[in-house]
């Protein structure tokens, strides 16, 4: 009897450990994903992501985004730049619940030229931020949204 109870206890403990391992695993896999995606202010998101919120406006960034987006759920964005030594490119939609939409790492050999589709909840200014040589360069555009992309 005693033995059986031990055995049961062991299997219960084993199962608990397994569940714990499974629930912890995704966190490890997401270790690189920044909490900047969860914050509600753009400055805070910039600080979390880059440790700075000082942006330098630079016209070497080509930022393609429609002026009028009929459907805020799918807004095509392209960011391209001639600035040398680009390390990351990020896109911020200031009036979305969480302003940081996407952040791209650009390793050496990869072009500083990316396209993605984002959601915009309402008419707002969208910023592209390019990190190069420890500085943050930016350019922005206003997008008029006819139907917001966050409702449902």
């Amino acid at each position: 009897m005693q033995d059986k109870r031990r055995l049961l206890l062991k299997s219960v403990l084993g199962f608990t450990a397994m569940v714990a391992a499974v629930t912890v695993m995704p966190k490890l896999a997401m270790a690189k994903w920044s909490k900047a995606f969860d914050v509600e202010s753009m400055d805070e998101a910039l600080n979390d992501l880059y440790g700075s919120n000082e942006l330098i406006t630079d016209d070497r960034i080509t930022f393609k985004i429609p002026e009028i987006a009929e459907n805020g759920a799918v807004v095509p964005v392209t960011v391209k730049t001639d600035i040398p030594n680009v390390r990351t490119i990020s896109i911020f939609a200031g009036k979305n619940p969480q302003p940081l939409a996407a952040s791209f790492k650009i390793p050496e050999g990869t072009e500083a030229n990316i396209s993605v589709r984002i959601r915009l909840g309402e008419t707002m200014i969208v910023k592209a931020v390019v990190e190069a040589d420890g500085k943050l360069y930016t350019t922005e555009k206003e997008v008029k949204v006819t139907i917001g992309g966050c409702g449902g």
């Binding site: 896999a29 995606f37 940081l100 939409a101 390793p107 993605v116 409702g151």
Partner: protein, 100 residues
């Protein structure tokens, strides 16, 4: 996940379309009036010969069925690319694509 990789003027041009609901966690189910739990891709990585050539981190503001395009130097027609995404629930998907 659909991937198209093509040589163009010495660059490998990659276009990716991932099939994913990209739920923000802020949307309500119309019938039950309950919030649909968040489920969105957080990370998408592309490797060429074990070297990371592209890494995208996404928030909730990325459209359903995310599309990304990028290009890099150093690849050749016939090479294999491996792409992986991970979402906030830990679900992951990996595919390989051959450069045309």
């Amino acid at each position: 996940m659909k991937v198209k990789a093509k040589m163009k003027k010495g660059l490998v041009v990659v276009k990716v379309l991932a099939k994913h609901p990209m739920e923000t966690g802020m949307r309500k189910d119309k019938k039950t009036d309950e919030l649909i739990p968040a489920k969105y891709i957080q990370e998408l990585i592309c490797k060429h010969q074990d070297k990371v050539v592209f890494e995208a981190n996404f928030g909730r503001a990325i459209s359903k069925n995310p599309y990304v395009a990028f290009s890099f130097k150093g690849g050749q027609s016939g090479d294999t690319l491996s792409l992986t995404w991970v979402d906030n629930t830990g679900e992951t998907k990996a595919v390989e694509a051959v450069i045309k």
